[in-house]
Amino acid sequence: MDSPIINPEFLTISPEQIRALTPYLVVFGGALLAIVLSVLRVVQPKWPVFIAVLLTALAGAAASQMLAPEAEVSLFGGMMVSDTYSNIFNILFLMSAAFTLLVSFKYLDTERMQHPEYYVLVLLSALGMMLMTSAIDLIVIFIALETLSLGVYVLVGFRRADRRSNEAAVKYFILGSAASAIFLYGTALLYGASGSVRIDQILSLVHSGGAEVSTPLFALGAWLVILGFLFKVASVPFHMWMPDVYEGAPVPVTGFMTTGLKAAAFATFLRVFLGLGYGSGLTAVIQSHIHDVLWVCAVLTMVIGNVVALTQTNLKRMLAYSSIAHTGYLLVGMITGTASADGYASVVLYLVAYAAMNLGAFAVLSILATKDDVGLNLQDLSGLSRKHPLLALAMAVFLFSMAGVPPTAGFVAKYQLFYGAVQAGEIPLVVISVLCSAISVYYYLRVLVFMYMREPVAGAGSDKRSVSPWAAIAVLGMVFATLQMGVIPAKMISAARRAVASL
């Protein structure tokens, strides 16, 4: 972009770059293969597509793990970067996609909508997430964002014959596109102010203290970009879409959205947020404005998310409001990261822990859901411990983790996050967060009360559900991950520290 002549180094690709690109190529190739397999007429297409997509996701995760670059590798003329930060999130997205697939297999049979496109869309959305967290060019971020969003819009509306699913999809589509457009307008203004859409170039401009970054144009552009991301992570006051979409979407898709989509949005938000120069060279006025506005957003998000969750009886809706509340905690980490010793490592750790426990909780809900997602109200869980003692136990682990009770992943993550905020000197914010966290214990434990202390009732979801081996593997895996991170957190904490070191 700097010179109009084609630069020869754009046309060659070095072995390190191939190495760094392998996970993306594996996932992309797997998705293409799955599309071809899905039109096979010789066998029922669900098996080959399911196996191909599942293996691709696992192979991509393994490739990310094994071919992790030691140093930052710049890709495509500096539009993308492969570093430890994007690497840890690649593994998270692909594992989240793989577990979503495991859970979905039986669920799609129950819903009588065993279409192979479902698996392909999950994989392509995961690819969009991977590209989004590795991109450092705002236009590439936009394209990756749309790649993943378009997949997820369709997945949300996958129960085509159900009005609630359709409604959720259209609502999500309209609000999501509006947020993308606002984000894009922000990038256009940033381009006008700084002459670049690359966040590393914008950052060096901010560091050099050029006159461009103190213009109103730059500030407005930065604000619109932040606004777009606040919408994507569902921070109050842009949270209204989330409960509706979560309730209308098929249960495994909701699980995928709370883990993959949320982690992708936050991971990219963090990259762009730091790229705009937060905490490192923004003029004092803009810095304090951003800090104050995010402070208010974080407090409102935590309070509203937790208080409204108290009154919900539908479990999907309750977990949606709980997801909003967790967005609030993560925003606390975003605000205080620059001033605490561990920096943004606690945010990464929280995203990983949150993904594990939430994926598990939604896996249990997908097993319990009957056709058309009925049977997910609080009273439907009455006496679950008698019908399915192991499922109830797994659900209990996930709920304890969300409430932040040791020895689970949720406790470690919350501890790190709030400890970082204390180090940053944000005592009022920490007090509010801890109080909100205390409120949340009520609605998480209420589910436990229904599962363990109520008699089973007759109703839509009262019969014993058969558990598919795939879903059982998913639940077991997530229980293991949640407890492992809670009992031996050191490994994950050091991985998170390594990841943010490359930011």
Binding site: I139, I143, N166, I174, A178, Y185, A188
Partner: protein, 103 residues
């Protein structure tokens, strides 16, 4: 001799179009009009990019426009598909009728 247009005129024009799109998205009740408003917002962004690109003598902005046009096309295809799916079950495209999830 072609009269040149000042950049600020074009920039304000595209800002106005963007705001019309945003306001239309918030107040109009017909989903098809809402989809048009989204397109309006994206095209306002395109115009902004082209203007800044011209002002700075940098081709990067004009390149971005091509990508945005492509993505916008994909987005409207998916959007119309979802609206058709909604219309099949609900028999309406009025957003006031879409309130099943609020209850």
């Amino acid at each position: 001799m072609i009269n040149t247009v000042e950049p600020w005129v074009v920039l304000s024009f595209s800002a106005v179009i963007f705001c019309i799109g945003l306001v239309g998205l918030l107040i109009r009740r017909n989903i098809l009009i809402v989809l048009m408003c989204i397109e309006l917002m994206l095209n306002a962004v395109n115009l902004t990019y082209v203007t800044f690109s011209k002002m700075q003598g940098d081709m990067g902005g004009q390149m971005s426009v091509f990508f945005i046009i492509t993505v916008a096309a994909a987005e409207s295809a998916v959007g119309l598909g979802l609206v058709i799916a909604l219309f099949r079950t609900l028999r309406t495209v009025d957003t006031d009728e879409i309130r099943l999830l609020k209850e």
